[in-house]
Amino acid sequence: MGGFILRRLGYGVLILIGVNLLTFFLFFTVNTPDDMARLNIGGKRVTQEQIDKWKRERGYDRPLYFNTEAPGVEKVTRTVLWERSVSLLVLDFGRSDSARSTDIGHEVSTRMGVSLQLALPLFLLQLLVSISFSLMLVFFRHSAIDFWGVVLCVVMLSISALFYIIVGQFFFSRVLRLVPISGFASGLDAVRFLALPVFLSLLSRLGGEARLYRAMFLEEIGKDYVRTARAKGLSEQVVLFRHVLRNALIPIITSAGSYLPYVFLGSLVFESFFGIPGLGAFIIEAIGGQDFAIVRTMVFLGSLLYIVSNILIDVAYTWVDPRVRLA
């Protein structure tokens, strides 16, 4: 297992390098640092001195890929590509491009905690609610409950998450005045602010997930071991919970695991709608302010989390299913 994880990590580093090259190409070749300087300084007349100063302050004043003036190895190392890539790989995110030039690393570490407060309960509740709902549908399969349950799922997944948010905010915060419309507080107070986004996010993803899980359960339920279990005289509840649920966990883990990076990065839309100062809102602010340093960092961080969570999923397989051996 140790060897497996090492190999996966090695492949992960390869992928990170690929991601880095991709984003570098996107951000520096399609538009030169000069364009970005002009964009960030703003105003109609931008002098070359201002641009040079902006580039120098942020370390964009080197050649992009290849430095012909430097001696020896430094031909490659004294370039924007090398310096940016190496600093990202050791998780030194540098400063943002905007005029305020905040320390990205600091922002990420403080905001990640906030994001986790929203996303972690959401992730666990999501699993619980979706699995229970789909198990209920499976229990009542071939009946009206199953049919209308699936109809409900299809209708729910046809509604954009934005509608849930707008209607939910309007109904619960404006009409009923149960919770504040938006904002955030630390400590126990956070519950008041997080309750609505968690509930709405749960609702907006329930339709799709419950339908997917139902299909996974039904796939399992047609197998021989289930028939054997029934033939032994086990009750339907025992068959469902002890046999089907356990075996369906593998596909469920795969599908839920692909959501893990977002647990850390925050639910983008929900955070910004509810004014929760997490990573998701940070990203949207950066996109709105066209701050490429932050977007680049987040792309990198996102793929790092994706790779880590994929390894976690594989490790979780061995825990759920003893037949799976990682070699």
């Binding site: 390869l14 964009l39 699936v150 997944l157 046809s158 954009s160 934005l162 039904l218 996109i287 977007v295």
Partner: protein, 480 residues
């Protein structure tokens, strides 16, 4: 009056796509296998009813995809042989809705209202009063609105509803007339339709059509004199915006999937067929792409495109062409970032196919690799392509709303469901609440996405026998 056709990028792509659909239909008609599979879709009531709704939406989108610029009336002192064209690009739909587009108020007004939403200072008999002013166009034909308004509304709505029902009745008779051969006369066919004893779900289709007519009739009857869905902040008719948003949704939904296809199919088949290092490279490519959270990658690409567009104003003549190029590039970006899933599926299927006897036989006969891939593998993975395409259509429409909210979606000058929802966010917190554009966007978007989802389910069930077993059923459909 002369006019100049404007071929926008997305227009070309959409019409090519429609042509492809027709071509596919022809192909289906000629191949027994495909025809049998599609017959299953045709017999599925839910899929057919949603196909009807999708077709109506598609019709609106098609009308909105024929663009032209009108010639301006010659100004004095202008050379006689020179014609200048309006810098506004219009579509056939704009022409059909010219009256509604012209009915521009000053700001918000409620659906079907004849008064504005907010009080204004009006000078009457030399005194300044605060009162709700009459709308410039909504209900402007009423002499005494306080007395006539309600009656006028009911009368027009009834006329519209009766007209809609008549149309539905004609459709029913037409269906019965078409079925007269196989059911022994028109009356017998009518009876069979009523009892749902037809081969195809004609009754469900007619009921759906009747409902649509019943809803659309009053809207059509009222929209000449009222703002049926109200007006937005700048006083524009919300109904017009909603109808114009349909094309945007179709462009995003169809073109983005189309853009994924070439990359996904070519790389998927190559990886599955050659295995070895080709496979490794392709796998590396799609793992790298899919490891970046999708929204972030799209945002990054769109930001880059935006900067590039700002730098090159010479790429387009009019504002419409600019926003069109932007949405076209957005589709390309969605395609480039979204091919990983389909590629993975095709790769796996190709690996399975290449070991089968017919491919082995072709290899033994000395057929070239390229020919095997094109003639033997490609047709056999097309069902995957089809299923993925129809399934992702609705996802992409939902995605557009989120992207527009984040600020990396379609151009604000182009109406889209995402843009409407985005505005609705602040409108819902006004007092009095401005709910109509939200509700309009909501109902049209849900209708479109729901129809797309149900149709996609029908197609998947027909092409993938495994998924049919998972379908919930109340009762099996009676055979004809």
């Amino acid at each position: 009056m002369s006019f100049k056709f404007v071929l926008l990028w997305t227009d070309v792509a959409l019409w090519l796509l429609f042509a492809t659909l027709v071509g596919y239909g022809w192909r289906v008609a000629r191949h027994d296998n495909l025809r049998a599979t599609w017959a299953k879709v045709l017999r599925d009531p839910a899929a057919m009813c949603s196909a009807l709704i999708l077709l109506l939406f598609l019709g609106v989108a098609a009308l909105d995809s024929l663009h032209f610029r009108k010639a301006l009336p010659p100004s004095p002192g202008q050379a006689a042989d020179k014609v200048f064209f309006d810098n506004r690009v219009q579509s056939l739909l704009d022409l059909a809705l010219a009256r509604q587009i012209g009915m521009r108020e000053s700001t918000y007004s409620e659906p079907l209202a004849y008064l504005a939403l907010t009080k204004e200072s009006v000078t009457r008999d030399g005194k300044v009063q605060r009162e709700y002013p009459r709308l410039a166009h909504g209900g402007a034909h009423l002499a005494d609105p306080a007395r006539d308004w309600r009656g006028d509304l009911v009368q027009r709505a009834l006329v519209g509803a009766v007209g809609g029902l008549l149309l539905a009745g004609v459709a029913t008779l037409l269906a019965a007339w078409l079925l007269r051969r196989s059911h022994g006369g028109v009356t017998a066919a009518l009876r069979d339709i009523a009892a749902d004893r037809t081969h195809y779900p004609v009754r469900a289709l007619l009921i759906t059509f009747g409902l649509i007519c019943l809803l659309a009739g009053p809207v059509v009857a009222l929209m000449g004199h009222y703002h049926v869905f109200g007006t937005d902040r700048t006083g524009n008719d919300v109904l017009v915006q909603t109808l114009k948003s349909i094309r945007t949704a179709f462009v995003i939904g169809m073109l983005s999937t189309l853009a994924t296809l070439p990359v996904a199919i070519v790389l998927g088949i190559l990886a599955g067929y050659f295995k070895g290092w080709v496979d490794e490279v392709v796998q590396y490519l799609y793992t790298t792409l899919s490891s970046v959270p999708n929204v972030l990658l799209i945002a990054a690409c769109v930001l880059m495109v935006q900067v590039a567009l700002d730098k090159h104003p010479e790429w387009f003549e009019t504002g419409a062409e600019r926003s069109d190029l932007k949405i076209f590039l957005l589709c390309a970006i969605l395609g480039i970032t979204g091919w990983a899933t389909l590629c993975r599926l095709i790769r796996a299927e190709t690996m399975k196919l290449r070991e089968l006897d017919f491919v082995q036989a072709a290899t033994a006969f000395g057929v070239s690799d390229a020919r095997i891939m094109a003639r033997h593998i490609l047709p056999n993975v097309m069902h995957l392509v089809l299923i993925t395409t129809v399934l992702s259509f609705s996802d992409l429409i939902l995605y557009e709303a989120v992207l527009t909210y984040i600020g990396v979606g379609v151009d604000p000058s182009m109406s889209s469901f995402g843009g409407m929802i985005n505005l609705a966010r602040s409108e819902m917190s006004r007092d009095p609440v401005v709910w109509w554009s939200f509700v309009a966007a909501f109902s049209f978007m849900v209708a479109l996405v729901l129809a797309a989802n149900l149709f996609a389910d029908g197609v998947r069930d027909a092409f993938d026998p495994r998924s049919r077993a998972l379908r919930p059923r109340l009762a099996a459909r009676k055979p004809a």
